[in-house]
């Protein structure tokens, strides 16, 4: 009795939910009747998500599996991915903007003073000052799915820092979160600036702390004169060091327990350019490109979220939002040098990877070398490992180029994306 009820509902839901589904469900039997040809299974699984964003003609293509016991499969049954769209109120970052945001914070309105200030030191060196405020924030990592994150400046990943080798870096760090945090940088620095030892933990701000001015442009002397333990107890610390070596680095919280402080969202990218910038080299020929060759730089942080805290990620992504760049492909111009700053900060899984479809790229491991002999469509990264990937999409071949972790599990849990390679001017 109940079953007949259920089968009735099956028929109705095709009509009630949305138009696409109404169109596709009855096709099951029609296709079986017509007995049209079949498409190989793997191809179906990988290309079907594309159909979500394409025309109705594309939707009308019936993808069928010939090896199953069922004679008909609709495209619907192969539509992998999340359902719905994320809102703006609790975004971890503005994903499209974040790709090219260097020395910028996503939510400057949350900060009491400027995020980034660049000035000249008496000795002629450049000084980059940053304001970092750690805070707790619920972020939307997939449509309707909220994660209680710990953030730098309200964003996950944290702001991308960029300096030239030899520049002075000064980070004003205030902890407005609920647990002790630090900023631990990869790169050369005195061990006192390491942000990793127990006595270097910065405790949640007590409020009484801010008796001296702080933030970019302020005088750090009174703060530095204070006992460091007392300074950190009050919720503030200052990290200062020289940007070195050239390469693609990262920063993250090093409080304990480490796993939780990292996977909750306290990490970001730190780029050190060589003086004069990185040379432009054609990834295909490994020969120099002219200095004025168009360059398109993108920051991608491979991360994951363990939403139920069982030591296993429920969501994988680049830049925090599952499937975001799949639903909103990243526009790139054919012929441009596309440079991806790729950092792996995925917790719990030892390895993550990057695989580009229908093309090859040059891999600069840790970005410390300016030339590379690694030419591949696949690169593998341990936790904390990173590389600069350079690619150029070929003339005459516009289209959507998929890229994703080659761990299929990660890909299907959100780490899947598309480049939309276009001729001429790029339309976002």
């Amino acid at each position: 009795m109940e079953t007949s009820d259920i089968t009735n509902k099956t028929d109705q839901s095709g009509g009630s939910a949305d138009e696409d589904k109404r169109a596709s469900l009855p096709r099951l039997s029609r296709r079986a009747f017509l007995g049209t040809g079949a498409v190989a299974g793997t191809g179906v699984a990988l290309t079907a998500p594309l159909l979500r964003n394409t025309s109705s003609e594309a939707r009308a293509v019936i993808l069928a599996s010939h090896n199953g016991p069922h004679d008909a499969h609709s495209a619907d049954a192969h539509r992998m991915g999340t359902v719905g769209t994320i809102g703006e109120d609790r975004q971890p970052v503005r994903p499209m903007h974040f790709l090219g945001a260097f020395n910028e914070t996503e939510f400057p309105e949350l900060l009491p003073s400027d995020f980034h200030l660049e000035s000249k030191l008496p000795n002629g060196a450049r000084l980059h000052e940053y304001l970092f405020i750690a805070s707790d924030k619920e972020i939307e990592i997939a449509p309707g799915l909220y994660f209680p994150a710990w953030t730098y400046n309200g964003q996950v990943p944290g702001p991308t820092l960029r300096a030239t080798r030899g520049d002075r870096i000064r980070i004003w760090f205030i902890n407005e979160g609920s647990h002790p945090h630090t900023i631990h940088f990869h790169g050369w620095h005195p061990f006192e600036q390491d942000g990793s030892m127990l006595h270097q933990f910065v405790y949640p701000s007590t409020g009484e702390a801010m008796e001296y001015p702080f933030g970019p442009g302020a005088d750090p002397t009174p703060w530095l004169a204070m006992d460091p333990i007392e300074r950190r107890r009050r919720g503030l610390d200052i990290y200062e060091f020289e940007a070195d070596p050239v390469g693609l680095h990262l920063y993250h919280c090093h409080s304990l327990p480490l796993k939780r402080h990292i996977h909750k969202g306290l990490y970001g990218t730190f780029i050190v350019d060589p003086p004069g910038g990185r040379p432009k080299i054609d990834p295909h020929t490994n020969q120099p490109l002219p200095p004025d060759h168009p360059l398109h730089e993108l920051v991608m942080v491979m991360n994951g979220f363990d939403t139920n805290f069982d030591g296993d990620n429920e969501v994988y992504a680049i830049n925090s939002v599952a499937f975001h760049y799949q639903v909103n492909p990243i526009p790139v111009r054919i012929g441009d040098l596309v440079r991806v700053y790729l950092v792996n900060i995925t917790e719990f899984d030892p390895v993550n990877s990057f695989h580009l479809h229908a093309g090859f790229f040059r891999v600069y491991r840790t970005g410390t070398n300016l030339r590379s002999d690694e030419y591949s469509d696949m690169a593998m990264f341990c936790q904390g490992e990173r590389a600069i990937l350079e690619m150029r999409f070929r003339e005459g071949w516009p289209g959507k180029y998929m890229f994703h972790a080659h761990q299929s599990e990660f890909a299907e849990l959100g780490w899947m994306a598309l480049f939309d390679a276009q001729e001429g001017e790029v339309m976002a």
Partner: protein, 400 residues
Amino acid sequence: MNESGQQPRASRRVPVLVLALLPLVLLGLLVAVFVTSDPTAVLKASFPPIEELAFQRVTLEPGLITLKVSNDGPDSLTIAQVMVDDAYWNFTIEPDATIDRLGNATVKIPYAWVKDETHVVKFITSTGVTFEHEIAVAVESPRPTAALFGLFALLGIYVGVLPVALGMMWLPALRRTRRKFIEVLLFLTIGLLVFLGFDALEEALEIVEGFPRVYQGMGLLVIGGIGSFALLTALNNELAARQGDAADSSATLSYMIASGIGLHNLAEGLAIGAAYALGEITLGSMLVLGFMLHNITEGLAVVAPLAKSGAALRRLVCLGAIAGGPTIIGAWIGGFTYSPLWSLLFLAIGAGAIFQVAWQILAQMARQHEPRSPLFDFANLGGLMAGFLIMYTTGLLVAV
């Protein structure tokens, strides 16, 4: 003494009804105060919401997985995304992704599931909590077609009706055995029944474990089990009082046994049908044979009280239908609309009935036994143990 003099005067002035209602009125006031001031808001603010979700029924159609879920937690929850085999997947949910406490929703996932293989469906709520359901062996869910109706009926006949009927065919042999041997046989029947009763209890407890907590599976087990025991006892007393100490009490007893076994077989049919429908077992011929052997003993149990008096064929057919027939009905219900709630209730009622019947046989034997010699001697012990062992060994054949 003064006080004792005052009390009756006080209660005389206030009617009994008012006295009886006073606590309820005060409780109502308290509830009103509680609801308006809501002191638990303080508690709620400091704790994250507790989310619970129970999977009620899964239906597989070509290219489509349909799941009925219910929220049996204290708060409402919102299903944010759905994963199948660790991949986020397209889905629709009705009536709403937010499910209130004790509310239901139907989730449809268009998915090219693979026949005979395992799939895991995982729901992730807005707070990141996950709920998982494993489809152990994916097979297309049966639709209520005439052919399938027939198939389940046949299944019921094979595992329920035929074995019971065959077991009842021992009656002529029983009629010609000695009185003592019948007593031993009755103890064997008690052994069979007690074993069956515990078997049903175990299955019921298993269901209780996976049952939505809010529905209090243990409570249903108590209501069904002890309720049926008490009901049958009362019924038996009423019948006995009406008939006097008629010779036909053995017929009454065999009807009681048949009813108890019938209820048990209803639950058994339910379980078989449901397991078949949910793809948890494939009914091989070995399993059907096992059920036949297992259930043939039930036929023996039904006719054992009739060894002395015998019975007309019509009565025997009637008894057989009561004991074996429900297997068919159970298979139908289980196959088409399996629900753990009904399984639990039938198992509980069956267990209560079976224990009651075993008790009834013992009581009747005690009444008819010669007062001098002990009722429970080694021969009868042998009968009891033989009953246990028969059930145990035939049970090995149907263990799934």
